[in-house]
């Protein structure tokens, strides 16, 4: 234990100086590839817990553990939030297969429907790439936030009945819990056709998220891709 502490002390924050968050000159990187695989880094993390409890911590937990477990939280629905153009959308997490980096879409000849963009390689399997931008008639455009922080475009693979489709998005925000919040009605007037695929609007305080009606979305994709 003391040996590890000494080692950590001598290599204090080495991951920011010679590690992957520094100049990557550490010789151990050849063996561990990334600092997170190195015992010095993981032991430093563990040592964060080698300190006394913050005030009120034990009382708070004693109170929490004495109460019945709120099982409603276990069933809580979650949804993935992503951006198309300037608009935020959410889709139930149970339909998410994978979130990937942008991949090359190989176009297919003689596809008449604009939402079919081609085929893409998902873990060695060929899947159809579609465009929610075109389905929702939203232009791919940069939002104002991109000036202040780096935003990465991603691809989302969604799945239903063992079928997988992939579509690019302008940004992934993260996972939200639906909790006790109820969705408000979608606006009756909208500039684009996304409103047809939204079953409600989730108010995330600083922005609003269109919650996608999965039944309508999948029915439309199946109809337009396979007919």
């Amino acid at each position: 234990m003391k040996k590890i502490e000494k080692e950590i002390e001598s290599k204090k924050n080495c991951w920011t100086s010679i590690g992957v968050w520094g100049d990557s000159s550490c010789k151990e990187l050849e063996k561990f590839i990334h600092c997170r695989n190195c015992p010095v880094f993981s032991d430093a993390g563990l040592n964060l817990f080698e300190q006394e409890h913050p005030s009120g911590y034990i009382d708070e937990w004693t109170n929490v553990i004495s109460k019945e477990k709120d099982i409603s939280l276990v069933d809580e629905q979650t949804f993935l939030v992503f951006r198309l153009g300037d608009e935020w959308f959410g889709i139930s997490s149970k339909f998410i297969f994978e979130i990937m980096e942008l991949k090359t879409v190989h176009s297919l000849p003689q596809t008449k429907d604009i939402i079919i963009k081609g085929i893409v390689n998902v873990r060695g399997e060929i899947k159809i790439a579609i465009s929610l931008h075109d389905l929702f008639t939203i232009e791919e455009q940069k939002s104002k936030k991109e000036k202040t922080k780096k935003i990465y475009k991603r691809m989302i693979a969604i799945t239903k009945d063992k079928n997988i489709w992939v579509f690019p998005v302008d940004e992934i925000y993260g996972i939200f819990k639906l909790g006790n919040k109820t969705l408000s009605d979608p606006p009756s007037t909208a500039k684009n056709s996304s409103v047809n695929f939204i079953k409600g609007v989730y108010d995330a305080e600083t922005f609003r998220i269109g919650y996608i009606d999965e039944q309508k979305l999948f029915a439309t994709i199946i109809k337009r891709v396979y007919s």
Binding site: L46, H53, W61, I65
Partner: protein
């Protein structure tokens, strides 16, 4: 076999993960009169009184320090024909090991009080004692903690 690995002052120990119900932080405990020193008290676990023992105190005669890495592992405990819950205070509960049952060695321990440590496994240069929950408490302590 899947084992929940943890550390005490000097050695590695493990519990069969099938026995584990939940891992929770240290809590405020109400002491039990006439109980041995390693029985640290009892607390209200979702409406049920659960006794807690300090494994470090039982095995190494030193109390587990009152810090964030110290946790209470709640395990199933069979008392007569009833299912009870026992809390075990331990440190650095951070790893799950998957081990082959054939790698577990039996150690002959003459001491009745240490019978719960009769299984040992060598894992990546570490000698890990497997704590057998059923043999953890002697009859007197069992009756003191679980008799109604």
């Amino acid at each position: 076999m899947q084992l929940l690995l943890f550390e005490l002052e000097k050695h590695f120990f493990a519990l069969d993960s099938k026995e584990v119900i939940e891992i929770i932080p240290l809590l405020k405990l109400t002491s039990i009169p006439k109980a041995p020193g390693y029985v640290k008290g009892v607390f209200n676990y979702r409406g049920t009184a659960v006794p807690v023992i300090d494994l470090s105190s039982l095995i190494e005669n030193t109390d587990t320090p009152n810090i964030l890495s110290s946790r209470i592992i709640l395990v199933n405990y069979k008392f007569k024909n009833d299912k009870k819950i026992l809390g075990i205070i331990s440190r650095r509960v951070v790893e799950i090991l998957k081990v082959d049952d054939n790698l577990i060695d039996e150690v002959q321990l003459n001491n009745e009080e240490s019978k719960f440590l009769s299984k040992v496994i060598k894992f990546e240069k570490r000698m890990v004692h497997i704590v057998e929950v059923t043999n953890l408490l002697n009859e007197n302590v069992k009756n003191l903690l679980f008799s109604e």
